[in-house]
Symmetry: C2
Subunit: 414 residues, 2 copies
């Protein structure tokens, strides 16, 4: 069972992975009783002096107080000569809470800065949960001292669990490079997933030595193909945030140029961890029973490729057909048509897995309904759409739309 009492997604990995310890990063989690009693709902992460920090955040125009605060702090630069900290709570998003929202952020940051002897400008916060309710920040402040005492390099799995809301499994991923550099990350996300230049909540750590500007570039260059390429329900959160910290305490040489061999290796590994976490979010999509890759090729330009891929990935009719294991490619045609992208009906080619179902504006002459239906019974599906117009491509990931989504969202107040 997940924290919210929901059954674990059928698409969940067998277990939480063994994440490597990242030297210079410590975790502590505890129950502050923010919304429910007896559940771990606050996590403190301490990042060692000399680290660098990068971030990406939602572009929602109604973003939460903590997002605005993090953005203002990172705008001052990503260096953390005296160290940094991240305080995350679940159960309350502290979003649309007016001036009081910022007061809550300030109170929490001051408490953390005091307990860890850090400048308040290097304390970042995330809040996830219900929107529009005042955050009972005094409950967080009350346990900051305990959290500071419990900090431990091995606490990452507990942290991955503490940040969950409607998630049904904790999400983690990691990579170890040939030079010994380590990368580890955790994420939470399940509903209100259609990230816009950022993601749900994701925290990534590495022991690499990377100047702040280079770290930000390594992070930003990976967003489009990872967190910005997933959608569960087309709804964008007020609180999406991704923070990446590099402690410089690892075995690798400093990375000052992403185009060097070491830089390329680091970026490839980092983006791989990001993609893994993004896929796990889709696999925990509310009510999901299918993990679906939508691969669009042959678009006139990149914007069109993205439009078509997201129109398909967000179409309620496509997603319910997938839930029903129905090889209903007509709904994909309709989604292409509504996308606003340039498309020529008579050049469209659609494939399920390796099976072409439609080409040249009509059902493929070799179309086999029984084979297509059999394919749709797979848990992992791939739908490929070639527009036949140009060279632009876009791959995104989504899940199906089931009764489980309605169950969760007609009852849960998020």
């Amino acid at each position: 069972m997940g924290k919210a009492g929901l059954p674990v997604s059928p698409l969940a990995p067998a277990r939480f992975p063994d994440l490597p310890v990242i030297a210079g990063v410590d975790f502590a989690s505890a129950a502050a009783g923010i919304k429910y009693q007896g559940r771990s709902d606050v996590t403190l992460i301490r990042i060692a002096p000399g680290s660098t920090v990068a971030g990406a955040f939602t572009r929602s125009s109604t973003r939460a107080a903590c997002i605005l605060d993090n953005q203002a702090k990172l705008a001052q630069g990503g260096d953390a000569p005296d160290g940094a900290a991240i305080l995350i709570n679940s159960g309350n998003a502290n979003a649309f809470t007016g001036a009081r929202g910022q007061q809550s952020v300030d109170a929490v940051c001051a408490a953390v800065a005091g307990a860890l002897d850090l400048p308040q400008g290097r304390v970042f916060t995330s809040s996830t949960g219900v929107i529009g309710e005042p955050l009972p920040h005094e409950r967080i402040v009350a346990i900051v001292g305990d959290l500071a005492r419990d900090l431990d390099a091995g606490g990452v799995a507990d942290a991955a669990r503490a940040i969950m809301t409607t998630d049904t499994f904790p999400k983690g991923a990691s990579a170890i490079l040939a030079d010994g550099t380590r990368i580890a990350g955790i994420a939470k996300g399940s509903g209100m997933i259609a990230p816009d230049m950022a993601t749900m909540l994701v925290y990534l750590f590495t022991d690499a030595t990377v100047p702040a500007a280079v770290l930000q570039q390594a992070l930003s260059s990976g967003l489009d193909a990872t967190f910005n390429a997933i959608t569960v329900d087309s709804d964008t959160s007020t609180s999406d945030a991704l923070i990446l910290a590099a402690t410089g305490q690892g075995a690798g040489a400093p990375i000052t140029d992403l185009d060097s061999d070491a830089g390329r290796d680091f970026v490839t590994a980092l983006h791989g961890v990001m993609r893994d976490l993004a896929h796990q979010v889709v696999r925990d999509g509310e009510g999901a029973t299918k993990f679906v890759e939508i691969a669009v090729t042959g678009a006139a330009d990149a914007a069109d490729a993205h439009r078509v891929a997201m129109a398909i990935a967000n179409s309620p009719l496509v997603k319910t057909a997938i839930a029903g294991q129905d090889a209903n490619w007509g709904r994909i045609v309709a989604a292409v048509g509504k996308s606003g992208a340039r498309a020529d009906r008579d050049r469209l080619c659609i494939a399920f897995g390796d099976m072409v179902v439609a080409r040249d504006g009509w059902r493929d002459p070799d179309y086999d309904e029984a084979a297509a239906s059999a394919y749709m019974r797979n848990q992992d599906l791939r739908i490929a759409v070639d527009l036949g117009l140009g060279d632009a491509a876009r791959t995104v990931w989504t899940c199906d739309l089931t009764h489980g989504y309605i169950d969760i969202n007609a009852d849960y107040r998020s």
Copy 2:
């Protein structure tokens, strides 16, 4: 029960209205066995010589053969000195059917033109149902003679029923002006509803005398506030079509200027009928249990107002909250934020009915959760959002997202 065996929407009107006979318009419906046996699935409508015709169609880039054919014919002008006809079938959309799609349209139009002694260029067609299957047009051609014999001015109610697919009730509306001018219309639509400059299938008739260009203007000027202001599931059909015919056989004087008193009265009545039918489509939204008006004011410009209204109306999280009768205005904040429109969190004002729930970036100080929850138990709801930035406004209509939608769309192949 509707045609597809679905229970009638709880939002359905008590009964199909008594529509006035429009002199010069005759209807006949019959069962051609296009998809199912024993269900009326083809309707023929004959429009008298001397009528004028106007139309509006989907802008989907994958639109069906009949849509392209209708558009090409109306591009030649809307005069019908020798009369016109509309042949509508349900059970098959004849969409994404390649060159064969146009051959089917031609075969049907030739048969109707022959049976009614009309130029083929004045025979319009609509097809609704499954996408990507070849239309068995020979079944339609085989009964055109029977249909022609059965034409009757009183056949409009049967026609409204014959064009249904997943609709659970037939849709009709009418108006009679002070000068005796009559307007009557029928529509079908329930899912794949997010019209783009047109609508699902709608046929409107009047005995007014209106030149074709003026008729088109009267129709086009009403689309934005009626059919383009509704959404059930954000999916746009390949086959949306609206055809309006004016027979000139009524009591009113010719209308050559829409800015005259008679012109304004006609336009007001016509748009009222269009709005009534559009609302009925939402009331028959697949799985709907609530009819919801979203009224956005205070936007910086019209495009922003539309964006915000549709972002709310299409948000799965807003729609499931409404299904759960949950006064979850935080999800409305999130939908405003993701819309891409200019919005200032701290100027937002949100009301449910007459009850302000949020203002100035936070929950209203007088917010009463019990009263808000009680309001959400109404069948007809109104959500008002003021952005506090400008003078632009937009009102749209939608329904909730329920288990019924999943039931219908995980099984029904449309």
